[in-house]
């Protein structure tokens, strides 16, 4: 289980082979091999600066926006080579959505926040269709009951947890296949965190989710597979249960028991 190849029977949604990421001259990731199984939650854990967020952001090429960032190796979404020159980044990011660490709703109405993605991708033919997408996404994100009657209000006026669920609804509205979450709960209180975790658990029936988290408990609660990163390399990956109860690498053992990190 030293390598990241999936051993379970679940089909692989995204896969990374020998991925190196550089920021200028500095190498942030070295030879990452990892499979992300479909319709499940994969947690990326590791101490700060280990490269887990960098890896996450290379899955939908958000790293392209960082100056001096280079990615080598192969990342595949189904059979599509993500870093192939022919790939349209806009299309890729529609298929691989993202939720960020800090809730970042647009300073527009709740409705506009959710409707923006479908609109730029032309997913709705009519106003009714768009309304339906907005309602469905907000329902999926568990936000409809709270904001369904005030869609015209500003998205930034919501509480932190609601804002983050709004961001999730916004990502869902584009109908992505994979959702990347970069420490989605780190700015939230425990109750809001519990909400988001429940939501993630529901979403994995339909979506493939990759989540970066600093919280061991969160990784253990929400994920089926866990990958442990340390100093730019993928130390160990496997079923979450195995990683947390019977890790095969000493460093993993040390990290999850709190000896470093």
């Amino acid at each position: 289980m030293q390598n990241g190849y999936s051993t379970s029977n679940a089909p692989v949604k995204m896969s990374a082979r020998k991925v190196d990421v550089f920021y200028g001259d500095k190498q942030a990731l070295k030879g990452i091999d990892l499979d992300v199984p479909a319709r499940s939650v994969t947690a990326l854990i590791g101490p700060s600066g280990c490269g887990k967020s960098t890896f996450l952001r290379s899955l939908n090429r958000m790293n392209d926006t960082v100056r001096g960032c280079r990615v080598q190796g192969e990342i595949k979404l189904d059979t599509l080579d993500v870093y192939d020159n022919s790939v349209d980044v806009v299309q890729l990011r529609a298929r691989v959505g993202m939720v960020f660490q800090k809730p970042n709703p647009f300073p527009k109405s709740i409705y506009e926040n959710v409707a923006y993605g479908p609109r730029i991708h032309g997913l709705a033919e009519s106003r009714e269709e768009l309304d339906a997408i907005v309602e469905k996404s907000l329902k999926q994100a568990g936000l409809w009951k709270e904001v369904g009657d005030r869609l015209a209000e500003g998205g930034t006026g919501l509480s932190g947890g609601q804002q983050q669920r709004l961001c999730i609804a916004r990502a869902l509205a584009v109908s992505p296949e994979v959702i990347l979450m970069d420490e989605p709960c780190s700015a939230l209180d425990p109750i809001a965190t519990a909400h988001i975790e429940e939501l993630i658990d529901e979403l994995r029936e339909e979506y493939t989710i990759v989540i970066v988290t600093h919280s061991m408990q969160q990784a253990a609660r929400v994920s089926q597979r866990t990958a442990f990163f340390h100093l730019g390399i993928l130390v160990e990956t496997g079923d979450t249960k195995t990683i947390f109860t019977n890790p095969s690498d000493e460093r993993t053992q040390g990290y999850i028991t709190g000896r470093f990190g």
Binding site: M62, T65, K102, N104, F106, T156, A171, V174
Partner: protein, 443 residues
Amino acid sequence: MTDMAAEPNQLAAMPADQGIHMTDKAKRRLKARYAAERRFRLIGMAAILFSLAALAVLLFTILGNGFTAFRQTHVQLEIQFEPDQIAPVGTTDTAKLMQGNYGALITKSLQQRFPEASSRSNRRALEALMSAGAEVQLARMVADDPSLLGQTRKVWLPAHSNVDVFVKGQVDTTAAEADRRIKDNQLGWINALKATGDLELRFNTRFFTGADSREPELVGVWGGVVGSFYTLLVTLAVAFPLGIMAAIYLEEFAPKNRWTEIIEVNINNLAAVPSIVYGLLGLAVFIGFFGMPRSAPFVGGLVLALMSLPVIIIAARAALRAVPPSIRQAALGLGASPLQAVLHHVLPLAMPGILTGTIIAMAHALGETAPLLMIGMVAFIVDVPATPVDAATVLPVQIFMWADSAERGFVEKTSAAIIVLLVFLLLMNLAAILLRKKFERRW
């Protein structure tokens, strides 16, 4: 080690209930700190008071000097529109009507009022009471309404500037007759007209509707206002889109390398180039090379656009930079193209800052004189420009020209024009504040 050895002794010398922060020395230090703080506040307040006083003096002087210009001395005369002097009854040809001898009508009316002034010199002194504009005003009246021919009407006509400054007390009214422009006989007529209510200060409409003139009693700022408006319109139309596009490209898309750095440094330098240099550039390029018309607001607008461009670019870049990167990431993460992310999200959020910077640049351009002198907008133009390519002047240049005029009557007109300019500047700043308030959003 010696320090450590000395410390217990010091501690022992202090009373038991005093810590290191309660010694006399510490109290003195604290007192000095408070004193320094009080001094700083006093100096700051003094600076503000000084600038407020300077502003008050400036406003007071300008208002005091300029307010009288809003009212102008007018004389009411009973004019007989004699067809003999103008044109036969029934004439409707404007050009013919305008050619009538209206001066004779005014002279006749004045003489009927003061029959005793029959000598040649007295008649001339009587005529000198009225402005040259009085004839033009009568001619316009008849041209607008030819049915006046043959009738008699009471008409308020502008008095000469000499009378005006005398009535307003802006010249020494007690000086010896030889030193006065208003002689004793004229003084008598003025008083007589005043006594019957036929000479009074009336609202100076001409000042707000007319253009430049050789006679101070006939001048108006409207020509300058329209010239300024056309100039700023061209400036805005050129500098605003160019500035925003340059800022967006430099801030959001351009690679950060030596070239963009050089461009950035040069833009910052351009903002500091003296405005008259832009005037020379405009003269050489727009007029010399492209052969554009002199004195035209269009060329003036282009010159001011070049001058405002760096300021707008700098303001727009600062506003774009102030938009949090999380907004860009949110849009990009949803699959928006970089241009969509900028146009849909970043630019609207940066708009208040960009607009504020633009309006301040425009206000600066509105007050600019030097570069416009270089492209010939300093000409004497008596017509209100109809298009941006007509010869025109602008408000600040108008002020400059009036300030240069020798006649006493121009003093108040200069100040009044400054008041008009200040009102426009205030309005623009108000617009900047309102726009900022309107577009301001939190994130």
